[in-house]
Symmetry: C2
Subunit: 233 residues, 2 copies
């Protein structure tokens, strides 16, 4: 393995360990030693990538956006819906993501850590999708994309929080389905409403497509995507 | 002052001090000594009312519902909207409420504290209002009151969280107005949509009515309520 590749891997191992520890203990109670032990790397390696606990927390906070990656969809509102379901599914399983969300939600971030980062980054990422939806004529004329995506990001944060408090996120997909059932009538042109798939298992199906695309060589992704559309209820 | 009245006052003073300290430091970093110092009561008085830090946190968590009290409205959806705006206004100023919301949102509640309480209590409180709205023909036939209020509680939690992270809750009323702009089309019968007041200053106006009713003797409340309706845009 080349030196650079090894460094990237080590950085990732540290980030994942840090995410897990932040998720379990919160920012204040987390120590560098706890992360070192979990990651099983040397102190030198950790400090090479992250000079402080603050910089480690910031890096964990900044890792969220890639977890919302989904296959492109002809209907951009569907793509937006998919991003929330897939992110929700990953949030139930991935410790790095859990830790990142906990840091964004907890109030005790020290001065050096900007825990508003994920809210801004998500709004910036999603507003582009909604602008595309607008260009394709999917949105009601009253929609202001920036306002709508900021509401979506805030509402998502709270819905996952409530799901965690009540069921350890077991019912997150159902709650996201209810969220979209309430939001879409105020966003989408009426003709699109029944065509957008917001079934609770949407995230699982989209992830299956992504997994096939990863594992199956050329053409597998497209075949799986066709399945996704055919599987829509 | 009678002994019982004094005990009630002392309990309140302790609760408000605890709320402020929990808001500033979070559950883990808060100590009984910090609350004692803030409340300026004796150790004996505190332990008489709250035998442990857990019981203090639980009592602070259980204080939220009265902060959503608003004057009754002929339109029950308006009353529901009012509850969120008034709660939001109070959340910007009241330390006990801030502390309670922080405890509900933070993940590090110990085994002895049920921080899912406020979510359940709010859903139970609000579902009654939505049932009344249904009985009065205000809701679309597709609405399932329990699902809708649980979504509302979750979305509110996240919207206030995002508002706190980005603007220290300065823009909470605007964000609540956007929330209702998106939720109402999926909840209310079309004929009600333009009549429901969800202007960002709604909370300030409803609170003014409540203050007048408190201070002005018989009749003042009704006069102020008339003003509230007249002031609707």
């Amino acid at each position: 393995m080349a030196r650079q590749e090894r460094a990237i891997r080590t950085r990732r191992v540290i980030l994942e360990a840090a995410g897990a520890v932040f998720d379990e203990h919160g920012y204040t109670a987390t120590t560098i030693s706890m992360v070192l032990e979990r990651a099983a790397v040397t102190k030198g390696a950790l400090y090479f990538h992250f000079p402080s606990k603050e910089s480690l927390a910031q890096a964990v906070l900044d890792e969220q956006i890639p977890f919302g990656t989904v296959p492109s969809q002809p209907c951009k509102l569907q793509e937006l819906v998919d991003m929330t379901f897939v992110f929700g599914q990953r949030l139930r399983r991935n410790s790095l993501l859990k830790g990142s969300v906990r840091l964004a939600v907890d109030q005790n971030a020290p001065a050096g850590v900007d825990h508003s980062g994920p809210y801004r980054q998500w709004a910036d990422r999603l507003v582009g999708v909604l602008e595309q939806a607008r260009a394709q004529g999917e949105l009601l004329p009253t929609v202001q994309p920036r306002r709508t995506v900021e509401l979506l990001v805030g509402a998502f944060a709270g819905v996952q929080l409530m799901s965690r408090a009540l069921t350890d996120r077991e019912d997150l997909s159902e709650r996201l389905s209810v969220l979209w059932g309430h939001l879409l009538p105020g966003i989408a042109v009426p003709g699109l409403l029944t065509g957008i798939d917001r079934e609770p298992d949407r995230g699982t199906r989209v992830l299956a497509v992504l997994d096939k695309a990863d594992g199956g060589g050329a053409g597998a992704g497209e075949a799986a995507e066709e399945q996704l559309t055919a599987g829509r209820r």
